[in-house]
């Protein structure tokens, strides 16, 4: 990235928001694995590997995978956020490879939320 000026910051913001927004032509879903030290210690790397393997097996290209830090509730880690086009994000708690596989198969691919593992829906409020 070239050296930025103040004006560039705004352009980057618009570009990132436009690019990361889910849309019909893709990406239509985004899966975020929360990988702070707490998440990794509870098995987030295995969850991430399972997710990548599922995506490779399914041969799909329109699901975005991203990582993020701790979202606060360390005792419910590993946590995974699944966002599908036009729907509220779902936070899944205490994930493992098998649950990740099921969430990917049922929720990401078919749109069926896996309520037994769900912690919450929506996003945290910020100012």
């Amino acid at each position: 990235m070239a050296k930025l000026t103040k004006e560039d910051l705004k352009k980057i913001k618009d570009k990132v928001l436009a690019k990361s927004a889910l849309k019909e032509e893709g990406p239509r879903a985004r899966v975020t694995v929360h990988m702070g030290t707490c998440g990794i210690a509870s098995g987030a790397k295995e969850v991430m590997s399972a997710l990548m393997a599922e995506i490779a097996d399914a041969g799909i290209r329109d699901v975005a995978v991203t990582t993020s830090g701790c979202m606060g509730m360390c005792s419910r880690e590993p946590l995974v956020t699944v966002e599908c086009l036009g729907r509220e994000p779902i936070k899944y708690e205490r994930m493992d490879a098998a649950k990740m596989k099921r969430v990917f198969q049922e929720h990401v691919l078919k749109g069926e939320i896996q309520t037994p593992f769900a912690l919450a829906r929506g996003e945290e409020s910020s100012e």
Binding site: S20, G72, M73, A120, R121, G122, E124
Partner: protein, 503 residues
């Protein structure tokens, strides 16, 4: 169309853990990828820096930070703006901005989490501080035992340099500032500011007398500002949204929010950010979800080895710098350990003084020898060797150690003992006078006895006892010889008739 199942899942706002929090320092948690600077920028990142560099003079930055009421989040709570002002007034071409990421309190993980999840927020705050005091170089002192935090920081620093947000001519304004990470080896004393600077200079991390304060003569004798991770992470928002916005939450003297690492005997262990002045009860019972297993709350330990225990009768106290200090603890960097009724308070005090005597650098005799003696006395009490007068001796030593130690480590090391004596003196006395540990934790004070009415004389206890302390005639009530019993508890575990109990 609303899906049939989704309604059964609560929204984030319906979950007390999230609902009672106010996210400022942690505003990007779980949202951005910390490895991508553009995601931070998309959340208005570096706009505070842009404003500071293009629209404000250094004096205006300091004025804004001072007006916000922000106080150092490392523990002592010194007003950040004032610290910056002192340093800006110090003469010299070379000044330093230092970030204290030497988080070492047992149970604390606020700084690590912020560095892992949002490293740019810390970098942005440091550049703003540099502009305010006229510094062009800085260090982040982070312990080597935080590999992921250091990894994320290194990525963030490289990206910020590439984007011209660190280095020469930041944002094309002509201002230069760069920084590097200095990895500490994990000595607790290096969280003390003068010891931290001595460590960066390549020497053994030991404190030195103040004055001169770092604002006058800090790293390599140059004027320096040292702030904690959370403090720096608060700065950009203050510059961007203004002092009034920041000061709109909190109490009269403690503004803004505070991040706590909530751990111990609490259902929701995690990282929480609440407005200053939130009650301990809200933090423990609403956010923390209460104590597991229906146990009773005994105390909350705030401030780690420098802090103290706040008992149940003060659960409704407002958590702010003044109130917490009044109750005998300190705000500290944000470690909040919840303890249930099964914890022995003498054992807790012993744990913290053990930590301090281990981490004492040894420079001052009262700290080096005093903490060791205090540990011996406390260990004696937990082993049933406590003597009348021990409590008074501990209190007397505490005053001497506090008054005659050079740095914060020694000056605060007796706090956990003093606060536990203040609120739980009866528990100390039970150990000393009655040889009894009310919580049933101290092994040496346990007494296994047989309930003669329930005992059938089956002989199982005698068979499993490794020291033959449990004995008796067949079909007659058995007995446990206290002199040879090693309190292993195996007899109680194996007894089918619940005839053996411990007190």
């Amino acid at each position: 169309m609303e899906e049939p199942m989704i309604g059964s899942i609560p929204t984030m706002q319906e979950i007390p853990f999230f609902a009672h929090q106010k996210l400022r320092v942690l505003r990007n948690r779980g949202i951005i990828d910390p490895g991508k600077i553009e995601e931070y920028i998309a959340r208005d990142g570096y706009l505070g820096l842009a404003k500071a560099l293009t629209e404000m003079t250094p004096a205006e930055i300091i004025k804004e930070v001072t007006a916000s009421g922000l106080r150092g989040r490392g523990g002592a709570g010194f007003p950040t703006g004032l610290k910056w002002q002192f340093c800006s007034q110090s003469k010299g071409d070379v000044k330093y901005v230092l970030c204290n990421a030497d988080e070492g309190d047992p149970g604390a993980f606020m700084d690590r989490s912020v560095l892992e999840a949002d490293p740019h927020a810390v970098l942005e705050g440091m550049v703003i501080a540099a502009r305010a005091i006229g510094a062009h170089y800085g260090y982040i002192y982070c312990r080597a035992e935080y590999p992921l935090a250091i990894h994320q920081l290194n990525i963030a620093i490289a990206q910020a340099r590439e984007c011209g947000l660190l280095g020469k001519d930041i944002l094309g304004t002509g201002f230069d500032f760069d920084l590097e990470i200095y990895q500490g080896a994990g000595a607790f004393v290096c969280g003390e500011e003068t010891a931290l600077m001595t460590s960066i200079e390549g020497k053994r991390g030991m404190p030195r007398p103040r004055p001169p304060f770092p604002a006058v003569a800090g790293l390599w004798g140059k004027p320096s500002v040292l702030n904690n991770v959370e403090t720096f992470a608060s700065v950009a928002q203050i510059v961007l949204k203004g002092a009034a916005w920041y000061a709109s939450v909190g109490t009269e003297k403690s503004k803004g929010t505070k991040v706590f690492a909530l751990t111990g005997d609490v259902n929701n262990v995690g990282l929480v950010e609440v407005p200053m002045g939130t009650t301990l009860r809200t933090i423990v019972y609403e956010i923390g979800g209460g104590i597991p297993g229906g146990k009773k709350f005994k105390a909350a330990q705030l401030g780690g080895p420098s802090g103290g225990c706040i008992p149940a009768e003060h659960l409704d106290a407002s958590v702010d710098y003044e109130k917490v200090a009044e109750l005998g603890a300190i705000m500290g960097s944000g470690g909040l350990i919840v303890m249930n009724e099964d914890k022995c308070i003498v054992d807790i005090a012993r744990f913290f003084i053990d930590f301090c005597q281990d981490e004492s650098c040894g420079k001052c005799t009262p700290c080096r020898e005093g903490t060791k003696r205090m540990l011996q006395i406390l260990t004696g009490i937990t082993e049933g060797k406590g003597r009348e007068g021990d409590i008074e001796l501990l209190q007397e030593m505490a005053v001497i150690i506090k008054n005659s130690s050079l740095c914060g480590l020694g000056q605060t090391a007796p706090n956990p003992i003093l606060s536990t004596i203040r609120y739980f003196r009866d528990e100390y006395e039970a150990h000393i006078r009655e040889g009894r540990c009310p919580a049933g934790v101290c092994t040496a004070l346990k007494r296994y006895t047989v309930d003669a009415e329930k005992c059938t004389g089956c002989g199982v206890c005698a068979k499993v006892c490794p020291t033959k302390a449990a004995k008796g005639e067949k079909k007659q009530p058995h007995e446990i010889d206290q002199a040879t019993c090693i309190k292993c508890g195996v007899c109680m575990e194996k007894c089918k008739f619940e005839a053996i109990f411990v007190n």
